[in-house]
Point group: C3
Chain length 139, copies 3
């Protein structure tokens, strides 16, 4: 009997680097455990994956006054950035990244304007994918 | 053999219009695909559905400095607001909206003080509903 | 036939007291209904459970200008704080709280530096646990 590969599907609304770090940790853990992972980038999530935004995005979602302390600590611990974690996870072949077609329209962007994105899809197709996952999250 | 209708259940904590737009997109997609959708409005989510708040709520959860740009872009694309999307999805008959009884107490509000709300229920009843869904999210 | 105990698993990224209150309500409801509940504290979630942070944390994630009004209202209604709700739920024996090992490193903290925490675990172990739950959330 072959057991089905487990699956995690995340609607990534947030584009803040602290929340994206939390997401990237979960993606890393899931890919390491052999899960199939799918991300669906909505408004700010799509924004954060834009090639012209990626390097200069410093937005924190909470405790903005503690951002410098956390950033310094991450550097001391030599932790990879959220994007490096996602890029590394992508190499496993088990991570697919989709941009919401409405978000792509809002940013006036095509697939090649985003980093690591496999495809631009509609929200109906996404919801179907999400309903087959063992873990569903909204970040 | 009749296949069961798929279900999405979302605890809506946020009352920020950017996050509610992300939610409304997912709700629209789910209803279009024939899913049954249930929302449970907690603190700020309940606040955003109050009749006296709905029209004047301009709160963004992230990238506040980019809010005017995004608002302008949504208008150019003639995208319906988060509330228009939810109201439209409601017409399908497959969307139920509940307010958390504690949130209703906090805002000193009754069912008729909220737009589109079906009922005020307790969190225990909600958790039971949520456990039967294919997709569970916290927004 | 013995029916399996239902399970809710939440990745708690946020450390803001409004979101933690929304979480604590869901945890209370789930434990009351006999669910097994597991929390995994990531960056700000771990921060909020630190013994030296717990009492002085006043951070709100949204509508900061309305925080005093909400705080006053919660007091009038004699609602327990998010932490009192979690502590009460813990007494049921059905709530387990884990800190993400990376978050513990970032804060330079050991298990005894956190309130109510059962263990520090890695994200791979967490994702496995999460995949067995009926309700999965990211707060």
């Amino acid at each position: 009997m072959v057991s089905r590969q487990k699956k995690m599907a995340v609607a990534v609304f947030s584009g803040s680097i602290d929340r994206l770090t939390g997401l990237a940790m979960l993606v890393t853990g899931a890919v390491t455990m052999g899960f199939e992972v799918e991300l669906f980038l909505q408004l700010w999530g799509a924004y954060a994956f834009k090639k012209d935004v990626l390097q200069r995005n410093m937005n924190f979602s909470e405790f903005q006054d503690k951002a410098p302390e956390v950033a310094k600590r991450l550097q001391e611990l030599k932790l990879p950035s959220w994007f490096e974690l996602i890029r590394e996870a992508k190499k496993s072949g088990n991570l697919k990244i989709y941009v919401c077609s409405t978000a792509a329209s809002i940013w006036g962007a095509k697939r090649e304007d985003f980093e690591l994105v496999d495809d631009i899809i509609g929200v109906g197709e996404w919801v179907e994918k999400m309903s087959e996952a063992d873990i569903t999250l909204f970040v």
